[in-house]
C-alpha cells in the first residue's frame, strides 16, 4: 500500500515536449513510473521519448487510460492545465509549476472542487512512492522503501527528511510535496489524513513553514482523531522576519498566528514530536517509532 501514486498509476505529462517536461519525464520513466504519454496542444499524433503525444488530456484519458497527470506547463497556462486535467477525469493532478498568479489558482481550486480528483501543488516537488512510482522531480536514489510517510511544503527540505529516514533505516512509504504557494490543492491536514489511513505508514513526518494556518489545522485534526500514529514535525522559518516573503509565495508571516514559534507550540500541544533543528528529523522518528 501507499497513497496517491503506485506502480499501477498511468501517468501523463502535461507540457511533455518542453525542456522541463522532457527532462523529468525521462527521469520518471527511468525510475519505473508507468508514463503512458504526454500532452502538448498542437503536437498530438507524434511521439516523444517513445511515448504518444496527445493534443488534449481528454484524448490521453480515452486512448491511453491515463489516471494521473503531472504538470510542467509555464505559469501563465498552468491553471488552465489543471482545469483541463480535472475536466478530463484525471484522478490525481500534480502541478510542479512555480509562479502561477494567485487569482488563477483561486479560480482553478474552485473549478476542481466538485470534480472527482485530487490536486497536489502547485509549486511542489511532486509525489513519490518509494521504489514504485515517482510523479515529480525528487531525486529517486535517496528513497528506500519503508514505513514513514512525509508531508512537506518544501522541495529540498523534503529530500533532507527522506535522506535522514533512509540513513536511519526507516525508509519511506510515500512522500507528498504539497507545495509552497498560498493556494494549494491538498492541504497539510488532507495529506496527513491520507497517510494516517495508509496501513503501511507507521509514522509521519510533517514539514511546514511560516505563513498560513495549515499546520495548525493538521495538528488539531491529529489530536482530535486520537494521535493514531506518531508524527514528527518541523516548521522552517523560526528566524524569518515578519512581513517578508521568504522565497515561497506563501512563506510570509502575516500575524502572530502564523510564525514558526506559534505553529510549533500548537503542534507540541497536539502531541506532535516537534524538532527545532531539521537535522534531528530522522533520529527523532527512529526514537518515537522505537517507543511504540
Amino acid at each position: 500500500m501507499s497513497v496517491l501514486v503506485n506502480k499501477n498509476s498511468k501517468v501523463i505529462v502535461q507540457g511533455f515536449t518542453g525542456s522541463e517536461g522532457s527532462f523529468h519525464a525521462q527521469q520518471m520513466i527511468e525510475y519505473g513510473t508507468n508514463v503512458v504519454g504526454g500532452v502538448t496542444p498542437g503536437k498530438g499524433g507524434s511521439t516523444h521519448l517513445d511515448k504518444p503525444v496527445f493534443n488534449t488530456v481528454a484524448e490521453a484519458v480515452q486512448k491511453a487510460g491515463a489516471d494521473t497527470s503531472i504538470i510542467f506547463v509555464p505559469p501563465a497556462f498552468a491553471a488552465d492545465a489543471i482545469m483541463e486535467a480535472a475536466d478530463a477525469g484525471i484522478k490525481v493532478i500534480i502541478c510542479i509549476t512555480e509562479g502561477i498568479p494567485t487569482k488563477d489558482m483561486v479560480y482553478a481550486k474552485e473549478y476542481i472542487q466538485d470534480k472527482d480528483c485530487r490536486l497536489i501543488g502547485p509549486n511542489c516537488p511532486g509525489v513519490m512512492t518509494a521504489e514504485e512510482c515517482k510523479v515529480g522531480i525528487m531525486p529517486g536514489f535517496i528513497f528506500k522503501k519503508g514505513k514513514v510517510g512525509i508531508v512537506s511544503k518544501s522541495g529540498t527540505l523534503t529530500y533532507e527528511a527522506v535522506d535522514q529516514l533512509t540513513k536511519a533505516g526507516l525508509g519511506q512509504t510515500t512522500a507528498i510535496g504539497i507545495g509552497g504557494d498560498p493556494i494549494i490543492g491538498t492541504t497539510t491536514k488532507e495529506a496527513v489524513e491520507l497517510l494516517m489511513n495508509d496501513p503501511e505508514t507507521e509514522g509521519i513526518v510533517m514539514i511546514g513553514e511560516i505563513g498560513g494556518g495549515m499546520e495548525a489545522e493538521a495538528a488539531y485534526w491529529i489530536k482530535a482523531t486520537g494521535n493514531k500514529k506518531p508524527v514528527v514535525g518541523f516548521i522552517a522559518g523560526q528566524t524569518a522576519p515578519k512581513g517578508r516573503r521568504m522565497g515561497h509565495a506563501g512563506a510570509i508571516i502575516g500575524g502572530a498566528d502564523d510564525t514558526a514559534a506559534a505553529k510549533m507550540k500548537i503542534m507540541e500541544e497536539c502531541g506532535i514530536h516537534v524538532v527545532h533543528s531539521p537535522a534531528d528529523i530522522g533520529e527523532t522518528m527512529l526514537r518515537v517509532l522505537g517507543n511504540n
Partner: protein
C-alpha cells in the same frame, strides 16, 4: 510588489474609485506649483504634504503635514523631502524621502461631520477566496482593532464563481452605519475598489482611511496596494512602478542575478538551494549560536555563476563573519557546485571569512573531495548536523 501611495491612487482612480486628489513632486518649488494647480482643479484651500515611502505610520513619524497656504507648502515640503523618515515599519535607520505627494484637503467642514473608515481586500488563504474587511475604526492600526475589538471588523467573503454581489456591498455599507447618499456612495466605492483589485491581480488593498466627507462623498485618503509578483506577465505597465530606492541595494543586485535574497541583520551568511531548506538553514545557524545574515535561495539550477554571484552579494554585507553553503543535490550535482565554489573563491580573490560547505545528494562524496583537495580555507560537511557543529566551532573560534 509594493508601490507608492501616489501610484496606488493613480491605479484606483483609473478604475473609478474616488480618491483624495494630489500631484507628486520632487522639489519644494514643484510643490508650490503643484499646490496652485491643485487649487485650480479641485478648489482646495488647504493642502496636505505627504512623504512617499513604502511604509506605514508616516503621519506619526512626521512625514505628513498640513499646509494652509503656498508658503507653508514650500516650507513643509522642504522639511520632508530629503528627510530620513522613521516609522514603526522602517526600522531604526528610517527611509529617505525622495518624493512628496501634494494632496487636497478633504476634511473641510460642511453639512455633516467627516468620518473615517477602514476597508481592505485580501486573499483568505484558508477559504481560498478573497475577503473584504471593513471597519468603522478608520485611521487606526487594524491589527490593534483586530486584537482588542474584533467585533468592529466586518468581513464579506467573495465567491470566485460570481464575484462581488450587490447585496454584499450594501451589507458592508449598512454595517458601517451609513445611510442615504453616503450609503449609495460607499456601495459605488466598494464596487469600483473590488473591480480594481481583481483586474490588477493584486494581493492586497488597504484603504485606511476611507473618508466620508462633510458633503457625503466617499474617497480613499490613503492607499496601500500590493501587486502579485507572479502576475506581472499580464501587467507589463506595472513593472515600471517598482522603485529600486525603496529596496535594499543588495536585494536589488541579487534579483538582477535571479537570486532570491533577503537581507537580515545577523553574522552568518548562507547560500542554499530551495526556499524551505534555506529557511531551515537560517534556523540551524541560530541554533548553532549565530544569527542569519540573509535568506538566499539559489534555486534548482545552482552552478558556478550563481554561486559566485551569491558569494559576492553575501560578502558585501560587512556583518558577515562566516558563510554556510547548504546544497541538497537532487537534479543539481554536488561535484558541479563544489567546482563552482572553488572557482568562485579563486575569482573573487581574498575571502576573509571562513566558509562551511555542506553538500548532500547527487555526487556528494565527490563534491566533498573537491572541496577538501582545493587547498582553500573551506570546511566541508555531508550531514546537516555536522554542518551545524562546524558553524558552532567556527563561531567559537571567531569570538
Amino acid at each position: 510588489m509594493n508601490i507608492h501611495e501616489y501610484q496606488a491612487k493613480d491605479i484606483l482612480k483609473s478604475y473609478g474609485v474616488r480618491i483624495q486628489e494630489g500631484i507628486v513632486v520632487d522639489t519644494p518649488a514643484q510643490a508650490v506649483e503643484a499646490a496652485r494647480e491643485l487649487s485650480n482643479q479641485t478648489g482646495t484651500k488647504w493642502y496636505v504634504v505627504k512623504a512617499q515611502i513604502h511604509a506605514g505610520g508616516r503621519g506619526k513619524g512626521g512625514g505628513v503635514k498640513l499646509a494652509k497656504n503656498l508658503d507653508e507648502v514650500r516650507e513643509k515640503s522642504k522639511d520632508i523631502i530629503g528627510m530620513q523618515l522613521i516609522t514603526h515599519q522602517t526600522g531604526p535607520e528610517g527611509k529617505k524621502v525622495n518624493k512628496v505627494l501634494i494632496a487636497e484637503d478633504v476634511y473641510y467642514p460642511g453639512a455633516s461631520e467627516p468620518k473615517e473608515y477602514y476597508i481592505s481586500i485580501l486573499l483568505d488563504r484558508g477559504k481560498a477566496c478573497n475577503v473584504i474587511m471593513a471597519s468603522t475604526e478608520g485611521g487606526m492600526d487594524i491589527e490593534e482593532v483586530a486584537e482588542h475589538t474584533p467585533e468592529k471588523i466586518i468581513k464579506e467573503w467573495i465567491d470566485p464563481r460570481v464575484g462581488l454581489q450587490q447585496f454584499q456591498a450594501r451589507k458592508l455599507a449598512f454595517a458601517l452605519g451609513l445611510e442615504g447618499e453616503a450609503h449609495k456612495e460607499m456601495v459605488k466605492f466598494i464596487n469600483a475598489l473590488y473591480k480594481a483589485y481583481v483586474e490588477t491581480d493584486s494581493s492586497m488593498f488597504e484603504i485606511n482611511p476611507v473618508l466620508k466627507t462633510s458633503d457625503n462623498k466617499i474617497l480613499a485618503v490613503d492607499a496601500k496596494v500590493n501587486l502579485d509578483d507572479n502576475s506581472m506577465f499580464r501587467h507589463k505597465d506595472f513593472v515600471a512602478l517598482r522603485d529600486l530606492n525603496e529596496e535594499d541595494a543588495l536585494e536589488v543586485e541579487a534579483s538582477s542575478n535571479d537570486l532570491n535574497y533577503v537581507k537580515l541583520d545577523g553574522n552568518v551568511g548562507c547560500m542554499v538551494n530551495g526556499a524551505g531548506l534555506a529557511m531551515a538553514t537560517m534556523d540551524i545557524i541560530k541554533l548553532s549560536g549565530g544569527e542569519p545574515a540573509n535568506f538566499l535561495d539559489v534555486g534548482g539550477g545552482a552552478n558556478a555563476k550563481t554561486v559566485e554571484a551569491g558569494f559576492r552579494i553575501i560578502l558585501k554585507d560587512p556583518n558577515v563573519k562566516a558563510i554556510l553553503i547548504n546544497i541538497f543535490g537532487g537534479i543539481v550535482r554536488c561535484d558541479r557546485v563544489a567546482n563552482g565554489v572553488v572557482e568562485a573563491y579563486k575569482n573573487i580573490g581574498e575571502i576573509r571569512v571562513p566558509i562551511i560547505v555542506r553538500l548532500q545528494g547527487t555526487n556528494a562524496e565527490e563534491g566533498a573531495r573537491i572541496i577538501d583537495e582545493s587547498g582553500l580555507k573551506v570546511f566541508s560537511a555531508v550531514l546537516l548536523k555536522d554542518a551545524a557543529a562546524k558553524v558552532k566551532e567556527v563561531l567559537a573560534s571567531i569570538d
